[in-house]
Assembly symmetry: C3
Homo-oligomer: 143 residues x 3
Amino acid sequence: MKVFSTTFTLSTDERTEITDITKLVRDAVQQFPVQTGIALINTMHTTCALFINEFQAALIADLKALIERLVPERGGYKHNDPRYSDCERGNADAHLRAALLGRNIAVGVKDGELALGRFQSIIFAELDGPRARSLRIQIFGVS
Amino acid sequence: MKVFSTTFTLSTDERTEITDITKLVRDAVQQFPVQTGIALINTMHTTCALFINEFQAALIADLKALIERLVPERGGYKHNDPRYSDCERGNADAHLRAALLGRNIAVGVKDGELALGRFQSIIFAELDGPRARSLRIQIFGVS
Amino acid sequence: MKVFSTTFTLSTDERTEITDITKLVRDAVQQFPVQTGIALINTMHTTCALFINEFQAALIADLKALIERLVPERGGYKHNDPRYSDCERGNADAHLRAALLGRNIAVGVKDGELALGRFQSIIFAELDGPRARSLRIQIFGVS
């Protein structure tokens, strides 16, 4: 069994920006000589998220509405209050939304390809952009 | 180190149906000659969830009430609105509930058995049934 | 490729107690001769959580407020009601909060160290303490 890893950077343009990165991960996986294994993808940040779902514009709009309803951008957060925090970004909502959505996914590799279901996309959610973000992909398996 | 995988199908009867699949996963793990390693379980779908918790009828009722409160079945979703979406199932709630609950678990394998705590069950949540659902189990480790 | 595992116990003092365990995990990883691989950390319980985020006092206060708002301690839960449940701890909120926050993390190991981003801490959330809690760390990789 072998292990490979690669890092890449995503640049985002909006504060909240939800992107389908399936192709990017798929291409990274195909670079490595693993036929059967697992791909692990991590963000290296605390204010963005990674998860698997269907990537459809209307559903993404619903997801944005959901996170704004559950964790409003302006929620009287201590992390955004100079009396309690030296954070200058005022991004408590982004941290809390990331805690609900997750920041790490693991997907099987089968016949050298990501083993995703028909409607499954790997989705990256920038929650405090615009920023440059690093993702790390690791691939474990046998060739 | 070796890697094994197997896929199985669950048929669900209700729209929202929460099932203890610990035995099914345990039996799958025992088929393979791994003494020490990890079992990774993924759903191949975007409207069901996998997680670990205590499986107790009253708690499952509480969980159903929670997801209905946080993500109501009827929430004015764009994904369910033909002006914005060609989805015919009207299942935005199921996608969003899955995003909160997760769809992937990783459990250790120790002495050839799943390393679960006393009250830990592996729980599958159908959120848009009835459907036939595929789960994929991968086991990595040494014999 | 090799696999190593170790278990350790955390004792908590409060009902809800959120702790930075990065150093503890980092030290555990360094014990083992893995240069490139993955560390998987699981709680063995159903009423505590593990996740990665920034560990800052004001943000932790915001996180506690968020989980109390989304999943109130007193929420009329069946799991806490002797008519439906024999649970004596009345801890439905802790189970449900754990379901939202997650109980399992996977982090890369690179050059023998946890591959964490600058602001990423590994955070343990006791949700039904005080208790003694077991965590299991597994490390897979090559030396």
